[in-house]
């Protein structure tokens, strides 16, 4: 793979030194660009056909062992006919984890509460094989065109796009599964966004955490009894991750489910600085860039009791 020269990581997120055990591996991963990964769109093509077309372009395409839809490539492919046709979506491997945990099934009713730009929405659609109903909600009018464009480009036929504020999403429908991929401070994107290299600002984290609490509670309330929810972010800040899930557990009878992913993760935290979190937070998954040579993030799997 072609690598651009390493860039100095400087004062890399010092407040997480105590919670990331493989700090050197973490720092080394943050110091190099992330590889380009495509997710084949099985609504329009097969992974084999996509790989064949990519290889015809003279590009190396290496499939992931744990997900046949994922392909690592050695060149950017955003300006190719295959991308234009919607045969694939460019997505960090880490970003596929929340929908993998959500595991939406054909015929179900699924809500993606914070959907734009639509990468996870179309991943959900792929898992559902265009069967059932997928509500893709995005309140931000500037972000909604990207969501609609991706739904159109990738050929999603069962998505209903709505534009409610997530925390006020109407309670007139209930869902088998809900994804709350919350707006966050984005520390896990450090490999492509160096502005977060020293960590997000506390004011940003506090502002976002209030929104995240409300989004998660509303997402949970929209579940049918027995339904499941995934809460995810692309940040490392415990205040936006375990603290938010702990808040839900304090407000509702939510059950935190264990997470099984086919790659290394770290358990969720049961404490941070002065705060203590319920012990089941350890069932959540923290994903660091060195785990998957990708971005970072957090995933929690929640069930509403029957």
């Amino acid at each position: 793979m072609n690598r651009t020269p390493a860039r100095p990581v400087g004062n890399l997120m010092p407040r997480y030194r105590g919670i990331i055990s493989s700090w050197d591996a973490f720092a080394e991963a943050c110091d190099r660009p992330a590889p380009t990964v495509l997710r084949a769109n099985s609504l329009k093509t097969s992974p084999e056909r996509l790989r064949s077309r990519i290889q015809d372009l003279g590009v190396d395409a290496i499939p992931f062992a744990w997900d046949p839809l994922l392909v690592q490539v050695d060149q950017p492919l955003g300006r190719t006919i295959e991308h234009w046709l919607g045969h694939f979506y460019i997505q960090e491997a880490t970003q596929t984890a929340p929908v993998r945990v959500l595991d939406p099934q054909p015929g179900e009713r699924v809500l993606d509460l914070c959907a734009a730009p639509g990468g996870k929405t179309v991943q959900i659609a792929t898992s559902m094989r265009n069967r059932g109903a997928l509500v893709a909600n995005e309140p931000n009018g500037r972000r909604q065109p990207a969501l609609l464009a991706n739904i159109n480009r990738l050929g999603v036929l069962h998505a209903l796009v709505t534009s409610y504020r997530g925390e006020a999403f109407p309670m007139r429908e209930s869902f088998d599964r809900v994804l709350v991929d919350a707006p966050c401070s984005g520390e896990g994107t450090v490999r492509k966004d160096r502005s977060v290299i020293s960590g997000a600002r506390p004011t940003t984290i506090r502002r976002l955490s209030r929104i995240q609490e409300r989004l998660l509670v509303r997402g949970y309330d929209l579940l049918r009894p027995g339904g499941t929810l995934v809460y995810s972010t692309c940040t490392f800040a415990p205040e936006e991750n375990e603290a938010i899930v702990s808040y839900l557990v304090g407000q509702r009878e939510a059950e935190i489910l264990p997470i099984h992913l086919p790659f290394d993760t770290s358990p969720g935290l049961t404490g941070w600085q002065e705060a203590e979190y319920p012990k089941e937070m350890a069932r959540c998954a923290r994903i660091y860039p060195h785990h998957l040579d990708s971005g970072g993030g957090f995933v929690a799997h929640v069930r509403r009791p029957s």
Binding site: K44, R79, T80, I81, H83, W84, L85, G86, G107, R109, N130, R131, G132, A133, L134, V135, L148, I151, N152, R153, G155, V156, L157, H158, A159, L160, V161, T162, E173
Partner: protein
């Protein structure tokens, strides 16, 4: 228009104009919203009044009759058997630049095809065809096919 009417009208249109075989899309349903006909497989899982965009927009009503959207034609791809303009790269470039080319197809809306790929909607009239792919998507397609002229792209 009731749901069954829109569904029947759309199926008849694609069958007659494009000889389209939609038999493998067993859950596909066409419904009318806001003057357009949408293709959806969400029906009847959820109340579709929930959203103004209940699937993929398939057909628009125009003064020239029903017009298929490029996105839906692209999705149908190999299911289209008639009113398809097979193009080479130079012809496609001309069309994407807003020009017309000579081609004898029955007047009406057509699908533009390059190789095995359906790229979107066009129109045949009087022995000529033009592209009706939306402007932004045209630019992206020119880039994707590396067909964009160095300057003065008149789109």
């Amino acid at each position: 228009m009731c749901e069954d009417q829109a569904n029947a009208e759309a199926r008849k249109y694609f069958a007659e104009r494009f000889a389209a075989d939609l038999s493998d899309l067993v859950r596909l349903r066409f419904i009318e919203r806001g003057g357009d006909i949408w293709a959806t497989t969400a029906f009847p899982t959820l109340d579709l009044a929930f959203s103004k965009t209940p699937g993929l927009r398939a057909l628009r009503r125009t003064p020239h009759g029903l017009k298929p959207t490029s996105a839906f034609l692209t999705l149908l791809g190999p299911r289209l058997h008639r009113s398809v303009a097979s193009l080479d790269r130079d012809s496609l470039r001309q069309l994407l630049m807003g020009r017309h080319i000579e081609m004898n197809l029955t007047d009406g809306f057509i699908a533009l095809k390059l190789g095995d790929d359906i790229l979107g909607c066009g129109r045949a009239f009087g022995g000529q065809i033009t592209a009706l792919i939306p402007t932004g998507r045209r630019r992206e397609l020119l880039d994707a096919l590396d067909l964009r002229p160095a300057r003065n792209a008149n789109l």
